[in-house]
Amino acid sequence: MVTVATREGVRRPTPVTPRRRPVGRWISDHLVLFVGVLVLVYTFVPIGYIMALSFNQPSGRSATAAFDAFTWNNWTSICEPEGLCESLKLSIGVSITATILATVLGTLMAFALVRHSFRGRAASNLVIFLPMATPEVVMGSSLLAMFVSAGFDSALGFVTIVIAHVMFCLSFVVVTVKARLSGLDSRLEQAAMDLYANEWQTFRLVTLPLALPGIVAAAMLSFSLSFDDFIVTNFTAGQSVTFPLYVYGSKLKDFPAQLFVVGTVMFFVSFLFVIAAEVWRRSRAR
């Protein structure tokens, strides 16, 4: 790529006077940063709305309309809307189970793909890539068709949701951990072996600690994918109601303002998690 720039530069010396360059650079410096910050601000607009509406005392039955009056009531009565806290419990249970399973299975797969060679590696990569290239509505519907034809249609619930979530989280775990592993210096492991560590000791004392940031990132990604999933869950949940399904169900009826409280809490809890992970990563790096 260096050659591209060099070749072009030599062939066609652009007749730009050096005086104009700082102006162009100043514009590109500040304009890009300004646009970037503007895009960031835009992504926070709905978050501001959710936070504001969590303090709203709706005049009508539904809380999605404009801001009417300030109240703390929504925050003190989160579990009041029927089924809301049950759906949260189910979502947390599903996400934790799916995250553990997907992280363990996906990490093993990533190790196999980066550290070992065997027949069918390319085919394996394709199978792992395919779920990411498949629209969720296709995955959800095909799983539902399979569960129904296998006679599971009355047993749809926790287990089938977890199965589906592990399925679509796996690829993301593999890809995330793989990225970390392939960036690691394998000579560190060779050094450990040279120093008479056996395979297990090398793995536990050298490889795993080095791969850990990637594994943690993959687990956090899985949790958020699983917790927030609506489309696949809608197909595989049967009568069970996870939090996204609850939100979806409420938009058809009256929309309790407590949902915005949950949205606000979710935002801050995840924020704390990410900050904690970042602090942990930095303290390890030192």
Binding site: E8, A112, V114, H116, A133, V138, M167, N234
Partner: protein, 304 residues
């Protein structure tokens, strides 16, 4: 470039040493590590997808309650295309526009984080994903409030006469596409950042030293080097946007419905499994075909 499509989902914040992976690989029992996960994908992804294909060939005269008979009824596909080609066209148009706008918004953001943010880099990265910590349904419902008829955006656009006085935003294609853009923006920004961050700033300086203006330098150096990010970002944006039906449902009307809405209602409401399956298969095939052509033409095969 061993990073796969989704790798940028967890951008590495420190440059990692590149090693010769091949020499480090061991032969032997590695496939055992792969086995459990692969089994999961075979049983719960590949097998259902193949079965979905067979379901799409069932006789449509059967019903959900009485069961279907297998008649290799390829006419299902003809019917599906005839009845819903406009939904497919709309889905790909909306997803395409949303992807282009996401690229136009995500590129400056990723560029700013990679080159201009300085010590605020990690803070800005966290801010990119932060809005997505909360439920996407809630965020989309918040957009519904913001874009509603007496919401601030509509009133503003009416005041400056961009919209007529009885003009609407909600329940129009604009609202649906805006929702898609919003929901898939980080899928664009993160891969873009991951590849821009790897660009050596000295190369851009070198372009400047060789008398290229900032825009020529960008076009000849930065942009080509960030192409892997552009390709994976557009794919990660376009693929889910094609199958999405939440934005169309919450921000649009049946006039803006996409193919995902039809698949969902055919499966869950009408229980018309053959139709729903053939629609799903068509959607999947078209998306995969587009992805392959796109990846080939952009010369980024090793990305997958």
């Amino acid at each position: 470039m061993t990073h796969g499509l989704g790798a940028p989902a967890a951008p590495e914040m420190s440059p990692a040493p590149v090693v010769d992976g091949e020499t480090a690989r061991r032969r032997g029992w590695g496939w055992l590590l792969l086995l459990p996960g692969m089994l999961w994908l075979f049983v719960f992804f590949l097998y259902p997808t193949i079965q979905l294909f067979f379901t799409s060939l069932y006789d449509p005269s059967g019903s959900f309650e009485q069961g279907y008979s297998m008649t290799w009824h390829f006419a299902n596909y003809v019917d599906a295309v005839r009845d819903t080609w406009n939904l497919f066209a709309r889905s790909f148009t909306y997803a395409g526009i949303a992807t282009v706008v996401c690229l136009a918004m995500g590129y400056p953001l990723a560029y700013a984080i990679a080159f201009k943010a300085g010590r605020w880099k990690n803070v800005m990265l966290i801010l990119v994903i932060a809005p997505f910590f909360t439920s996407f349904l809630l965020r989309t419902l918040a957009w519904r409030t913001i874009l509603s008829d007496n919401g601030p955006v509509t009133s503003f656009l009416q005041t400056i006469a961009v919209l007529p006085d009885d003009g609407r935003l909600l329940a129009t294609p604009v609202a649906v596409i805006a929702g898609l853009i919003y929901n898939f923006l980080p899928f664009m920004t993160l891969p873009l950042y991951a590849s821009l961050d790897k660009v050596d700033p000295r190369l851009i300086e070198a372009a400047g030293d060789l008398y290229s203006g900032p825009f020529t330098g960008f076009r000849k150096v930065t942009l080509p080097l960030s192409m892997p990010g552009v390709v994976s970002g557009t794919l990660l944006c376009f693929i889910p946007a094609c199958g999405d039906y939440i934005n169309a449902e919450l921000l649009g009307t049946p006039k803006q419905y996409m193919v995902g809405n039809r698949i969902q209602s055919a499966f869950l409401t009408e229980h018309n499994y053959p139709l729903a399956s053939s629609l799903s298969i068509i959607l999947m095939l078209v998306v995969v075909a587009m992805v392959i052509v796109y990846v080939r033409r952009s010369g980024a095969e090793d990305l997958v």
